[in-house]
């Protein structure tokens, strides 16, 4: 009995506390929230009318605005570089950058982060999506709240965001990787692909682009793709998978790993075992210094990537441009990206994109230099 009374009492105090808390925070916060509401309302119609003349000719500064980035996951060096670039660009424009690293590399975890950013009333959210479908609902909610949505590194469905900041066109990456395999294999022979997880959006897109490019030109007729293996971006599984590829295909000439963890693991396996199989793909210079070289002592003659810091920079400037109305995300829009010059929104298969440039080649001559730069 005593317990019940006490429970009721506690419940009562709790609810009072709750109400007081909410009321208190509500009133204390009104100034701030109306502030953001006002700015977003201002910005929203500008975007809706989508007439460039109507867009406020505000200075290209992000003064007083908040720009957020949701990375793929915490503890990811690749994403850390993106974050660095993003922060530089945003701060150069006078804005505030919030970088959120989800606890794990899942869409579930990203939803919590985006949800929290909506509460904070940020002006734009830049997402490196872990899944192209599962963020749809929360991104819709964010844009209903007047927040500008854009994606970087890996895209979501085109109607969920204003623009996708792409590192390099998917077709070009596919073509480049295929050419690398062709070149290293000497024009003919077997090659295999070691990817990340089976649902990694960009890896899948690049692999598809490689296959399409191989179909398109008879030059690649003697180049045979034997298997796509998945190392799940885990060193151990990637090692197992690489060894299995070597075992299964004694005539294998090249392995192509379009993922940073996979390429490093595969490089170590090939180099340590002194295998004649060569490696190429997409990798971080700092991870690969040990393994890049023309001679037989190194497993990877060359590989590609793009400048992640530049990508972050561009994404930062694009966020700023989108928020202050310089950019609406329509095809043909052009805008200034700080010191990086002018960029134009293009249409790739019905998806609006801004493309950073071409994949950059890393070989023995420049890899050390880039690794020293921290990339």
């Amino acid at each position: 009995m005593k317990k019940k009374v006490l429970g009721l009492l506690l419940a009562a105090t709790m609810s009072i506390g709750m109400l007081a808390g909410c009321g208190g925070s509500g009133s204390a916060d009104t100034s701030a929230s109306t502030d953001t509401a006002a700015t977003t309302e201002e910005a929203a119609p500008a975007a809706d009318t989508s007439s460039e003349e109507a867009a406020p000719a505000a200075a290209a500064s992000g003064e007083g605005k908040t720009y957020a980035l949701v990375t793929k996951s915490a503890g990811n060096a690749f994403m850390e570089l993106l974050g660095q670039g993003f922060k530089e660009a945003v701060e150069a424009s006078g804005g505030t950058a919030i970088i959120k690293d989800p606890a794990s590399a899942t869409a579930d975890a990203q939803i919590s982060e985006i949800s929290s950013l909506i509460s904070q009333g940020v002006d734009s959210i830049l997402v490196a999506a872990n899944d192209e479908n599962a963020l749809q609902a929360v991104l819709q909610e964010a844009s209903d709240a007047g927040i500008k949505i854009l994606t970087v590194d890996s895209d979501v469905a085109a109607n969920s965001r204003a623009v996708f900041v792409n590192q390099a066109s998917t077709e070009l990456i596919g073509q480049t990787l295929l050419d690398a395999c062709y070149d290293i294999a000497g024009g003919e022979g077997q090659y295999a692909i070691l990817s990340a997880t089976s649902q990694a959006t960009n890896q899948n897109a690049w692999i598809e682009a490689m296959k399409a490019a191989a179909e398109a030109d008879s030059k690649y007729a003697n180049l045979e793709l034997v298997e796509v293996a998945y190392g799940d971006d885990e060193p151990q599984k990637s090692t197992d998978q690489t060894q299995a590829l070597l075992e299964k295909y004694p005539d294998l000439k090249v392995i192509c790993a379009p993922t940073t963890v996979g390429i490093a693991a595969a490089a170590k396996v090939l180099q340590d075992s002194g295998s004649s199989v060569k490696l190429t793909g997409l990798g971080l210079p700092s991870e690969m210094v040990e393994y890049i070289g023309e001679d037989d002592a190194h497993s990877c003659p060359y590989m590609y990537l793009w400048n992640m810091i530049d990508l972050g920079n561009l994404a930062g400037y694009t966020s700023v441009a989108l928020v202050n109305g310089d950019l609406t995300g329509a095809v043909g829009d052009t805008y200034e990206a700080g010191s990086m010059g002018t960029f134009e929104v293009v249409d790739v298969n019905g998806a609006t994109q801004v493309i950073l440039g071409n994949p950059f080649k890393f070989d023995a001559s420049n890899v050390q230099e880039w690794a020293d730069k921290g990339m």
Binding site: T13, G17, S25, G26, A74, A137, T197
Partner: protein
């Protein structure tokens, strides 16, 4: 002996500590209030509107607390729930995209969960020598494996017709529908465990399975029922998760099992069986949600949030332990 409710055999030890904290549930309510006050202090945007808006994604997880509570009271454990959520959500998406009406989609989602739960229950009751941790470890890999195979390369599916989903994602006033459903479930399952003979039987099984068996309780039947129930609730969970995701992929529900077990344990349900009650687990779930939301709004490193939750978990189980430790010492010295 078992008294009016399961509360009489709660995790709180008899003696000095009880007077201080009254009951663990009382302490949890205080912690809940404290977390909310903390939220208001550290985050300028921590208010009812925002908390309720961020809540639906977390609420989906809370459904499993009831089922897991039952399982833990039995002295069992189920670490396959995350995978069940994944499989249910995947199957629901396939059903939805096949053009089936939303009612059928809901049925598919929930029934998939139920089937998985029944499969767990079947193995757990047919091979009683096997610890349920191992059974569900195996099915955890298998269920997610089935989802992976059916999703094929790409590993992701989106629900094309989102009408039904947006319906259950709707809000009544400021509260999401899932909140009311959760409340109803809470009332039903909390009453079932603490006020009925069925509930008392579960405590009996958890306290001493052999004794329960000789007392004429259908031990294996009850265990089968609880595993099926948890499967069913994981299906419900998947449904509400879908209403915030509009799609599923191979990582959906990853790590849910540990989070749900943590909520139950933080709520005072002992993994050794026979102790604790669901109200605690229910409040604990909200404490963890509110804490995550508050710290999230403060943009605190997500991994640091996990460290904080880990610490809370350990402190919450160490306190009663310390109580009995010092209590025992005092007793022995007074002798």
């Amino acid at each position: 002996m078992a008294g009016k409710s399961g509360r009489e055999i709660s995790a709180v030890p008899e003696g000095g500590l009880k007077e201080k904290l009254l009951t663990w549930e009382g302490a949890l309510i205080l912690i809940f209030v404290a977390v909310n006050i903390l939220g208001v202090i550290i985050s300028p945007v921590y208010n009812a509107t925002n908390v309720l808006r961020e809540m639906p994604k977390y609420l989906a997880e809370a459904f499993m607390v009831f089922g897991m509570g039952y399982i833990l009271v039995l002295g069992d454990i189920d670490i396959s729930v995350g995978s069940i959520v994944c499989l249910s959500a995947t199957m629901a998406c396939f059903a939805g995209n096949a053009g089936l009406p939303f009612g059928v989609v809901v049925l598919v989602c929930v029934l998939t969960g139920l089937c998985c739960g029944m499969f767990n229950g079947l193995i757990a009751t047919k091979f009683t020598e096997l610890p349920t941790m191992i059974v569900t470890l195996g099915t955890q890999i298998v269920f997610r494996g089935i989802a992976e195979v059916s999703l094929g390369s790409g590993g992701s599916i989106s629900m094309q017709n989102t009408e039904g989903l947006s319906l259950i994602a709707k809000k009544i006033g400021p509260f999401p529908i899932s909140f009311f459903v959760l409340l109803i479930f809470a009332i039903v399952f909390i009453t079932l465990l603490s006020k009925t003979t069925f509930g008392r039987k579960l405590y009996a099984i958890g306290s001493n399975q052999t004794a329960a068996k000789y007392a004429g309780i259908n031990v294996q039947g009850s265990r089968f029922f609880c595993f099926s129930l948890l499967g069913f609730l994981s299906g419900v969970s998947a449904l509400f998760l879908l209403s915030t995701l509009y799609g599923a992929n191979t990582t959906t529900g990853n790590g849910f099992e540990m989070e749900v077990i943590a909520m139950c344990v933080f709520g005072g349900i002992a993994t050794t069986g026979g102790k604790g009650n669901l109200i605690g687990g229910f409040i604990a779930a909200f404490i963890i949600f509110c804490l995550k939301i508050a710290l999230g709004q403060r943009n605190i490193n997500t991994q640091l949030i996990l460290v904080i939750i880990g610490l809370m978990l350990i402190v919450s189980v160490v306190i009663p332990g310390l109580g009995s430790y010092f209590g025992a010492k005092k007793k022995s010295t007074t002798k």
